[in-house]
């Protein structure tokens, strides 16, 4: 999953066919892939029109399609590179919840690259702070909060304490 998911989607395929693309690329016949994609979208509550083309969808919907295309392949590992950088706040929260539920449902291991501390803490079980170039691991923070998580977590005291710790380490690194 790349930051510029709008390049990744195929503009000549509908939302459903974009999701099915992940399966067809693995050699699954078109009709079977479409049925699997549709049931995957049903299961995960994707409720916008599936026969729309990407340019007829909102940015958040486009990203949902891109994410579904990846997850429908049932990967063992998923790498998300700054996935929500271009979303507004509401869409970002929505996508974060969707990612967590998709990943938890599939049992995949997910690595997220992000510069947003809240996002990292909300999504992860462990946060690794990277240094300036050349990047190396500066510090690891276990993130103990129970799943399923809700965004109310962001307003809690434990969250604030951990966040403070991470930001302090971050400031130390950039000022070093």
């Amino acid at each position: 999953m790349f930051q510029n998911f709008r390049d990744v989607l195929l503009p000549w395929e509908t939302a459903l066919d974009n999701v099915a693309f992940g399966l067809r690329a693995q050699g699954i016949p078109r009709e079977v892939a479409r049925r699997m994609a549709a049931s995957f979208m049903d299961e995960h509550g994707v409720d916008f029109p599936r026969n729309n083309y990407p340019y007829q969808l909102s940015i958040g919907q486009q990203q949902t399609v891109a994410l579904a295309r990846t997850m429908v392949q049932n990967p063992a590992n998923v790498l998300l590179d700054e996935p929500f950088a271009s979303l507004d706040h509401t869409a970002r929260f929505h996508m974060q919840s969707l990612v967590v539920s998709l990943i938890r449902a599939s049992g995949a291991t997910m690595v997220v690259v992000s510069h947003d501390v809240d996002e990292c803490l909300f999504l992860s079980q462990e946060l690794m702070l990277l240094s300036k170039r050349p990047a190396r691991s500066v510090k690891r923070f276990p993130v103990p909060f129970e799943f399923p998580r809700k965004h109310e977590l962001l307003a809690s005291g434990e969250f604030a304490a951990l966040r403070q710790e991470v930001i302090a380490a971050f400031l130390k690194e950039v000022e070093a």
């Binding site: 510029n4 709008r6 390049d7 050699g27 083309y53 340019y55 392949q73």
Partner: protein
Amino acid sequence: MKWRMLIGPAVVLLLWTVVTTAGLVRPIFLPPPQQVFHALYLLAADGTLWVDSGATLYRTGVAFLVAAIVGLLIGVPLGISARLYESFEVVFAFFRSMPSPALVPLAMLLFGISNLARISVAAFTCSLINAIQGAYAVRQIPRHRVLAARLAGAGGAFLLTRVLIPSALPGVVAGWRITLSLSLIIIVVTEMFIGTRSGLGMRIYDFHLMFRSADMYAVILVVGIMGYALNKGVEVAESRLVHWSGKF
């Protein structure tokens, strides 16, 4: 169709009628519309109009098709290899920018006074435009789209037909839109200068030499309608074939 689209043509027709019937211009320069439409009717009735239109359309069509094929054959390799593109960029830009009528005498020298001479001039310039469009379209394929498709497991013929070709298609089709109009333009010009007994360009020039202004205007009108129809047709085809072109 929106009815307002008819206002512009109606105004032009009205002005034309007023100016000519009031005697503001001599009929040799601008005959009144009824004379032009009558001339058009006679040309259509005795068949010359259809022969001329057919000849012009045929030449335009052949030039367009040849240019579309040659343009792809040249453009795709240029798009794939950045080195090749850089090596030949100047040459292509030079010949593409050259006004094609400059090549008419050369074409006559090489191919004689023939359809081949006319078509080759149009096809040459249009091939280069298609080649540059095609090369650009291939170079502009989003890198991340291909990378993500490969990561998803796509490769070989599937990657080519499902990702690469549709990605390049809008740019290639844009080239076809430009070159269809341009083919008609160049063909009509060459018909005036490379001797022939048919073709709308030749007919316009003939009527001009004979001071038959109403007939000349009638044929000009036909060329105009032909150009407009080709443009509209290609626009409709484009919006169907590559409906996603230019949208995000």
